[in-house]
């Protein structure tokens, strides 16, 4: 068979699988979020549509699909239509490097998870474009906040992962997981995990860092003017971002596919959903931070501790090298 044709077939197959997974995953995560929120507030949550209300989100999605796509008159049409795709598409890229098993990686790239961080930052350009092109003051305010927030937490996010990279001596995700055969990196680098967790909350625009879409202040933030499927794309992007950052967290710190008895992919998904559960737990516990409080937290707490963690790791590794 023609190798180019084979490659094309492979790519389309993977893409279909990933997109299918993302859709189902988002529907499930929205349901899970509503259930977790309900239980924390001592409500039963969605319950009438399907068993345990599982089909509620499906019904919501059908409703969203049938909604009118409103195009604001004053909007910049090209950018307005481009923005949802720009926020959704880069998140998909992360699935290229998430290792489900020793061999089960779509592309085991040398730069590994750095690619994910590089590409997911395009999301923020998408958010800014959305806010700008909507020609709405709330949307613009929300997207400006998103960009300001992005600058603050992206540095500690990368600093925290560098500790792991130095310990594992590689950027490849599969090799990082292999390095955690005996001990997970969360035990070697607990501080890095905490910093990573806080920053990934901010990256996914989750409470308490959901400043760009603060619904009590900014209507809905950058997606105020979006409706129907375009709004659903933002939603898909958001929940997939949560899943992706949790999956990267599980890969870097919780030993990826390692686990007893059950096959690797199950363990990775299980660990990812465990982190997602904590993310939701955090969201329904804490109130939203102000913009300046987030800056304070990121610049005065996360970055110093990130650098400290990096220095300690470097010193320890050098010490080990010398003692050998």
């Amino acid at each position: 068979m023609n190798p180019i044709l084979l490659e094309g077939l492979k790519i389309s197959l993977y893409c279909t699988g990933v997109i299918l997974f993302i859709s189902v995953n988002t529907l499930f995560l929205v349901w899970m979020e509503r259930k977790v929120a309900a239980r924390i507030q001592r409500r039963p949550g969605p319950l009438h549509v399907g068993p345990y209300g599982l089909l509620q989100t499906v019904a919501d999605a059908v409703k969203l699909l049938s909604k009118e796509l409103v195009l604001p008159q004053e909007a910049n049409k090209f950018l307005y239509l481009l923005a949802p795709i720009m926020t959704f598409a880069p998140v998909l890229s992360a699935f290229i490097v998430i290792p489900l098993g020793e061999r089960a990686v779509i592309r085991d790239l040398n730069i590994g998870f750095l690619l994910v961080f590089a590409l997911t930052n395009i999301t923020f350009i998408g958010i800014f474009v959305a806010g700008w092109s909507s020609n709405n003051k709330y949307a613009l305010l929300g997207s400006m906040r998103a960009v300001a927030q992005n600058i603050s937490y992206e540095i500690p996010l990368l600093l925290s992962t560098m500790g792991v990279v130095m310990t594992a001596q590689t950027l490849k995700t599969s090799e990082i997981v292999l390095a955690q055969q005996n001990t997970w990196f969360i035990f070697i680098q607990p501080l890095a995990f905490l910093i990573f967790f806080c920053s990934s909350l901010a990256e996914a625009n989750r409470a308490p860092f959901d400043i760009p879409e603060a619904e009590s202040e900014l209507v809905a933030g950058f997606h105020t003017e979006y409706s129907g499927m375009r709004f659903a794309l933002f939603f898909l992007g958001e929940y997939t971002a949560i899943f992706v950052s949790s999956a990267i967290g599980a890969t870097l710190f919780l030993g990826g596919w390692h686990g007893p008895f059950l096959p690797g992919p199950f363990w990775l998904v299980f660990k990812t959903y465990a982190i997602v559960l904590v993310v939701m737990w955090v969201r329904w516990t804490f109130p939203r931070l102000r913009s300046d409080q987030l800056m304070n937290f990121a610049w005065k707490v996360l970055i110093p501790f990130g650098i400290l963690n990096l220095l300690f790791t470097a010193a320890f590794l050098t010490f080990q090298e010398v003692m050998k």
Binding site: A38, R39, R42, R43, P44, W281, T285, F286
Partner: protein
């Protein structure tokens, strides 16, 4: 520097205690009552007006004194009493409350000399598609139970003679006019 670290640790402790509280709530039973399937019993709820049932005879206590009718601010009650065929006492034959008009002010209950009225059991989901269901016959349960007071024979009122139409001045060329309406002289 020490203050900075202290602030971080106290802050982290505060966050953790907050998360502990939400985790505790997470495992508590939801308090929501899924209404049509589940109902809660409400005490101190003012139900519709009803007759008190006397313990011994199982009968109502109404003496047809009309006090409740007079005091009712929304004029939702009506009462019919007739003479007993046995001893000539006033016997209640009909007692209706229009629940659509009733404002549940409890004045009738307060004014009743024999404490014959009460608020009924809490039925907070009373609803009807037609108005007739909401006009409540308070005597009906006693009639159904055939209590002594409802079994006493009463002297039926003599059928009221329809007042004879006032003599109409026949207008010239006019047909026969019935009733007192119209036809000004």
């Amino acid at each position: 520097m020490i203050q900075y670290l202290k602030a971080i640790f106290t802050g982290a402790a505060g966050l953790l205690s907050g998360m502990a509280i939400t985790m505790r709530y997470f495992f508590m039973k939801p308090v929501t009552v899924i209404y049509p399937k589940e109902r809660i019993v409400m005490k101190r709820f003012k139900g519709p007006i009803a007759f008190v049932k006397e313990e011994k005879s199982g009968d109502h206590l109404c003496i047809s004194c009309n006090a409740c009718i007079k005091v009712c601010p929304s004029r939702c009650m009506s009462l019919v009493a007739k003479k007993s065929a046995v001893d000539g006492k006033r016997i209640l034959t009909d007692f209706k409350v229009d629940y659509m008009l009733c404002s549940l002010c409890s004045l009738c209950i307060d004014v009743c000399p024999t404490d014959a009225l009460k608020h009924d059991d809490p039925r907070y989901d009373m609803v009807s598609r037609n108005q007739r269901d909401l006009i409540m016959d308070l005597l009906q349960p006693f009639r159904d139970a055939k209590t002594p007071l409802t079994q006493i024979a009463v002297v039926e009122d003599a059928p009221k003679t329809v007042p004879a139409p006032s003599p109409v001045v026949p207008s010239a060329g006019g047909g026969s006019a019935s009733g007192g309406q119209g036809n000004p002289a």
